[in-house]
Symmetry: C2
Subunit: 256 residues, 2 copies
DNA sequence: CTTGACCCTCACGCAACGTGAGGGTGTAAC
DNA sequence: GTTACACCCTCACGTTGCGTGAGGGTCAAG
C-alpha cells in the first residue's frame, strides 16, 4: 500500500467530520485519535487513515459508547474494520427502529389529545427503552477478544428480551457469588475449576462458542482491564485473580 | 377536568419512562420536573400530567436540547403541547433521515473496502452533520414567543441549506455589527431605528411574519433572557439594551 | 511590516447526571 | 414486636466530554 501523502489540518479534519477542533484536541490528548503526523511547527496533520479511524469513533460515539470503550475496541488486536462496520450498521438500524417507535408514540399522543382521552404511560414512553449500555458493555467486554465471537453474539443477543437479559444477569451474578464464596472459604483456584467451567458454558450458551483456550484469553482480559478488576474486586478483594486462575485451572485439567 | 388521583413513586415513574431515579431527583432539583405531590413522609408522587411533561422533556432531550432550554420552552406561556408534539415529530423524522444517511455511508464504506478503493472523506461522514444546535437554538430563541411563528419558521427552515444558514448568520452578524458600531459611535436608539427595521425584515424574510408589535415583544425577550444578554454583551457592553430600545424606537416611529 | 485566519498548549468551568453515605418508611414474615 | 428487604429521602463528591478563553506562534497575502 502506497504511503498516503494527503494530510488535513485540524480544522479541515474537524470540518469534514462535523466535529470541533476542541474535540480533536481532546481525542489526541486522551490517545483516542492521535494524528499520524505533525508539521515542523507542531501542527497536527491527519491522514485518510486517521479520518477512517475518526469515522469509527463517531459511529460508536453516536451509538452511545464512552470514549474509553471506543479506544479499547479500536485498539484491540482482533479489531477488523469491516466486521465493525457491519456491527455498527446493525446497531444503527436498531436505533432507527426505536426512533420510529418514539414517533409512533407521538402520533398516538396527538390522537389521544384530539379525542380528549389519555394514553397509558407505558405507551407514552415507547422507544425510550434505550438499550442498556452498561449491560451491552458488560457483555460486549466478554466479546471483544473474538471478532467472530462478537458477530455471533450480536446475532444471538439481538432477539433477547428483557427477561433473557435478566436471566443472563442472574446467572452471571450467581456464578460470581459462588466464586466469591469459594475465595472467602479459602478454596484454591483448582477447587473452583467447576465454577470456571460453568462460567465458560454460560458464555457459550448466551453469547458465542468459547473454547477453553479462548476462555484463558478471557481470563487474561479480566486481569488486564481495570474495569473488570473493579467489577470483581467490588465483590471480594482478590476475586479477579481468583477467577482468572480458576479459568486457567479449568483449561489445564481439560488438557490433562 | 377531574383531579387525577393516580400517582407514581419515583421508581415507578423512572421505570415507566426508562430513566433513573437519580435523573428524576435531578430534574426535581433544578425545577424542570417537580412532582405534583409529596407523601406525608416526603416521597415524591408523580401524576399523569407529570408523566406527560416528562415525555416532553425526554423528547427534547433526545433531540439534543440542553435541560435549561427545555425548561424554558415548557414554561413559556405560549407553550402548547399539541404544537410541540408536532414540531418534535418533525425533528425526529429528520433525525431518522440523518441516521439512514449514516447507514448508507457505512454501506458505501463496506463497498469500497471490498473493492479495495477509498472513499472521499466528505462522503464518509455523511449523516454526521447534525443540525447545529447553537444555530437552531439561537434561531429558536427568536421564535419561542410565537407558537404559530415557530411553526411557520419550522416550515420554512426545514429546507434551508447550509448556504442559507450561512447567509442568515452573515446577515444577522452584520446587523449586530452595525448595532454595535452605532452604540460605540454614541448614537441614540432612535438613530438606530432603521437598523431595527432591517432586523425585523430579516426575521420576516427568514423565519416568520413579524409585526412591529411582535418585534417589541422580541425586544422584551432579549432583555429578559440572560442568554441573549450574553450574546449581545459579548459584542459590546450595553448592546442588549441598545438593540431593544432601537426596536422600540422603530415601533414608536411607525405609530407616529 | 501588517493583517487575518489558523495553529499550539494550558487550564478553568460546566452540564447532566453516577455513585455512594447515612438514615427514614412500608410491608410481609416470623 | 422484630427482622428483612425494597424503597424512600437529602447530601455531596466525582466523572465524562468537551466549551471557552488566555497567551502566544505560524502562514500567506497585501
Amino acid at each position: 500500500m502506497v504511503t498516503d501523502a494527503k494530510t488535513y489540518t485540524v480544522s479541515e479534519a474537524a470540518r469534514l467530520a462535523h466535529v470541533t477542533v476542541r474535540t480533536l484536541h481532546h481525542y489526541d490528548e486522551i490517545g483516542l485519535l492521535v494524528p499520524s503526523k505533525r508539521s515542523a511547527s507542531g501542527y497536527r496533520l491527519y491522514t485518510d487513515a486517521d479520518l477512517r479511524r475518526l469515522h469509527q469513533i463517531l459511529l460508536l460515539r453516536e451509538l452511545g459508547f464512552p470514549l474509553e470503550t471506543i479506544g479499547r475496541v479500536l485498539d484491540d488486536p482482533s479489531y477488523d474494520r469491516a466486521t465493525a462496520l457491519r456491527a455498527q450498521r446493525e446497531l444503527l438500524v436498531e436505533r432507527i427502529r426505536r426512533t420510529e417507535s418514539v414517533v409512533r408514540a407521538i402520533d398516538r399522543a396527538l390522537d389521544a389529545l384530539e379525542r380528549g382521552t389519555e394514553m397509558e404511560p407505558e405507551r407514552l414512553f415507547e422507544g425510550f427503552e434505550d438499550f442498556d449500555h452498561a449491560q451491552y458493555e458488560a457483555e460486549a467486554r466478554e466479546r471483544w477478544g473474538h471478532t467472530e465471537a462478537y458477530k455471533e453474539s450480536l446475532r444471538r443477543t439481538r432477539r433477547y428480551t428483557k427477561e433473557d437479559w435478566a436471566a443472563i444477569r442472574a446467572e452471571s451474578e450467581g456464578l460470581m457469588d459462588e466464586f466469591a464464596a469459594a475465595l472467602t472459604a479459602g478454596k484454591s483456584p483448582e477447587d473452583a475449576a467447576d465454577l470456571a467451567e460453568r462460567h465458560r458454558l454460560h458464555i457459550e450458551r448466551w453469547f458465542y462458542p468459547l473454547t477453553r483456550e479462548g476462555h484463558v484469553g478471557l481470563a487474561d482480559l479480566y486481569e488486564a482491564d481495570a474495569r473488570f478488576g473493579k467489577y470483581f474486586e467490588s465483590r471480594a478483594p482478590g476475586l479477579t485473580q481468583f477467577v482468572a486462575s480458576a479459568i486457567r485451572a479449568n483449561a489445564a485439567r481439560a488438557g490433562a
